[in-house]
Each structure stands twice: as C-alpha cells, then as structure tokens.
C-alpha cells in the first residue's frame, strides 16, 4: 500500500462538487496525508452538511465525530471540526468552521442534529469541553462533567490543568452532587418507561410476575 504524501495529492471529489454547488462558501482546502479538510463559514455548515448527506453523488451517511480545536496562539480562532464518512462512496471528509478569535467571540454554530442523530452526544461533549453552543440542539447539557460543574470548560487553553477550585472545594462540590440527578426522571421511573414496554410484558408485570423467578 502506498503512503499518501504529507501535503498535497488528489482532493476528495466532494470538494470540487461543493465549490460548484456553493460558490463562495468553500474556503481553504487542505489535503493532508490523503485526507481532505475544507474550511467553511460557520453560518453555512448546517446547510452544506445537509446537502452532503442528501445528494446522491455524495451520500455522507455517517458522522464520525464533532469536536473542536483551540490553538495556543490566541490570534488563531477556535475551530469546530466535523468528520464525515460516506460509506457508499468510501470517502472521508473533514469540515472545519473557524469561530471568532479572542475572549469575546461568540462561540455558536448551528447543530447538525437534524441531519445526524449521532450529533446529539458528540455536540454535548463538545459543549461540555469547549463551551461551544450548538443552535438547535434538543438537549444541550453537559455530558462528561456533572451538570452543576462550575469551573468552566476543561479543554480550553486558559483552563488550568488542576481546575480552578482547590481540591477540597472540588471534592465538596462533587460530593454534594446527587448521583441520581444526572438521570432524567424518565430514565429512573418505571412508571413512565412502562408505556414503552410491549403489551404482553406489561400485562405480566401488572399481574405481579417478576422476571427471573
């Protein structure tokens, strides 16, 4: 197997298709180790992802990842990255959107949840770690840290490795958290979940039968 060159090499054909379909929207296109990255304006990402998903010549049907990069250089903008894969055409495409640089920049971008349901947890993780808000996400809560976590967004460059609070304060806040509070009531309550059970099982449960006995 030949190793693709570090820089350069053939572009993913989707890049040319995007240039034709969305003139002016396609920014820098890099090919690194044979993988194509396309920089897009943040406000058009959702629309472009929708087209990449729907167009029969593209068919990007698998969202591998949504993440973000912050660079050590404060002038460099924080970048949100989407990894898309087309299983029918065996293509991989990386989309990037540069949000504003500096402290006051609004970190907001449209959610692609309406295109890929897989974006749900990926965007929650990105929000949890970088503080990027995804407009239109149905349930944008923290996912790795607990919901009452106050110290900020751990993967940002200005976040100290050991967190902002002292160890004892961190422990106090963690112990004050409700272990159950991170589940919604639906997840805990059999009464609500029973609506989703098959009718036969509901009948057996109603008659007092216990599973496994």
């Amino acid at each position: 197997m030949s190793v693709p060159p570090h820089r350069g090499g053939p572009e993913n054909p989707s890049a040319a298709a995007l240039r034709e379909r969305f003139p002016g929207a396609v920014g820098r296109v890099d090919v690194v180790w044979g993988e194509t990255s396309i920089v897009l304006p943040p406000e058009r990402v959702r629309e472009i992802v929708q087209w990449l998903h729907d167009d029969p010549a593209q068919r990007y049907d698998y969202l591998c990842d949504v993440t973000a990069v912050e660079f050590r250089d404060p002038e460099e903008p924080l970048t949100v990255v989407w990894h898309l894969r087309s299983l029918p055409h065996r293509r991989f495409l990386r989309l990037k959107a540069e949000l504003g640089a500096g402290a006051g920049a609004p970190l907001e971008v449209d959610s692609v949840w309406s295109v890929y349901k897989a974006a749900d947890w990926l965007e929650r993780e990105c929000y949890d770690m970088f503080g990027i808000r995804f407009r239109g996400h149905p349930d944008l809560r923290r996912i790795l840290m607990w919901e009452q976590y106050h110290e900020g967004y751990p993967l940002r460059k200005d976040f100290p490795l050991r967190g902002r609070f002292s160890r004892s304060e961190q422990l106090r806040q963690a112990l004050a958290a409700h272990p159950e509070s991170r589940y919604s009531l639906e997840e805990l309550s059999i009464a609500d979940a029973s609506e989703d059970l098959p009718e036969a099982m509901r009948q057996r449960l109603r008659s007092g039968e216990r599973t496994g006995e």
């Binding site: 751990p154 490795l161 422990l171 112990l175 409700h178 272990p179 805990l188 599973t211 496994g212």
Partner: protein, 210 residues
Amino acid sequence: MGLTARPEGRTLATFQPQSQEGWIATRLDFLVNWGRANSLWPMPFGTACCAIEFMATAASHFDLARFGMERMSFSPRQADVLICAGRVPFKLAPVIRRIWQQMPQPKWSISMGACASSGGMFDNYAVVQGIDTIIPVDVYVPGCPPRPEGLLYGIRLLQQKVMRERMSDSTRLRAEMEPDPTSQLYIPPSAIDTLSEPFGNSVNQTRSGL
C-alpha cells in the same frame, strides 16, 4: 497446658461429658475474627485498568477463592470489603460514598493501585486525589497496576488486621458519615425503595433469579 498441682484437700468442679468429642474451648473474639477474616466478601469497585488485574487475581491462576473471597458481592448490602480498583473521577465520588454507606458493619476497604490511593499520574481537574478523601481506607496496595501477588498480600494484611480486632474496642466500628436530612444528598429510605424497586435489592431480587 501449665499443669500445676491441685491445692491440698480441694476438688475442682469439672464438667465431664460422656465424651470429649465435639467440644472446643476458645476466645469468642478469636472465633468471630477467624470467621470474618476468612470469609471476606469483596465488593469490587473496578473503574479502570487496575480492575483488569483484579480480575486476574480472581481468576483461576491466582484464585482469590483460596482466601475466602469466592463470592464477589455485587450488592454492597452483602459485602464486607470494598476493593476500589482504579481511578475515581469526581463524578463517581458521591457514588462510591453511597456504596460505602450501603455496606453493613463491620466493613473494610482496600485501595488498589496508585490512582485509587493518591490519584496516581492523574493530577488533573477530573480525578479524586485518593479515595481516602471520601471513605476510610484500611489497606493501600501500591503499584500501577499492582500485580495479583500484591493484591493478595494486601488482602492477607487486611486479614491480619481483622484478626487483631477486639470486641471491647469501641473504635472497632468505622464511624458512619450520616447524610444530613437537610442536605441535597439525602434521599429518604422510602424514596430509595421506590427507585430501586425495578432493579431489585438484597431483599427483593428481581433479576438474578436467586
């Protein structure tokens, strides 16, 4: 056993059953401790790579069962010793404390590995710097991960510790950290029963078929 001559003119009232079989005289302390030390049921709290080594310890090659730990108690209510194998993130801190509170007295705990004992290399925003900031620890097993021999040695140390306990020692029972009914952490027992009902508990086993 230290026979001395009986004083002149005195007879000892002696218990003389028909047969001496089936009798043993010992200290109650010793007997209870012997029983406890050799039937410690572990509650495995495996959170990371150390848990793999814990499984190796429990498997046939090292065979934890030789030390009376045949049965892993996945219900804290039936466990004697909490073995924390792996790093504990802050998000798990209330969970491990809840599990410790659910274990009945007498109970002991082993902190297995560098991470559980001190946070290990994870000196960062997410990891508890030693589980002894949350629950009392009896034995620390060093290593990253400790070899099964290391864990077995820690368990042997714990058994020695159990053997040395005395009924008369009032510090024997570990102080319970009682949840304050006004705190956010507090859930009344009735609510816990309602929540745990579908999953079963030690009284009401709904899933295991036991």
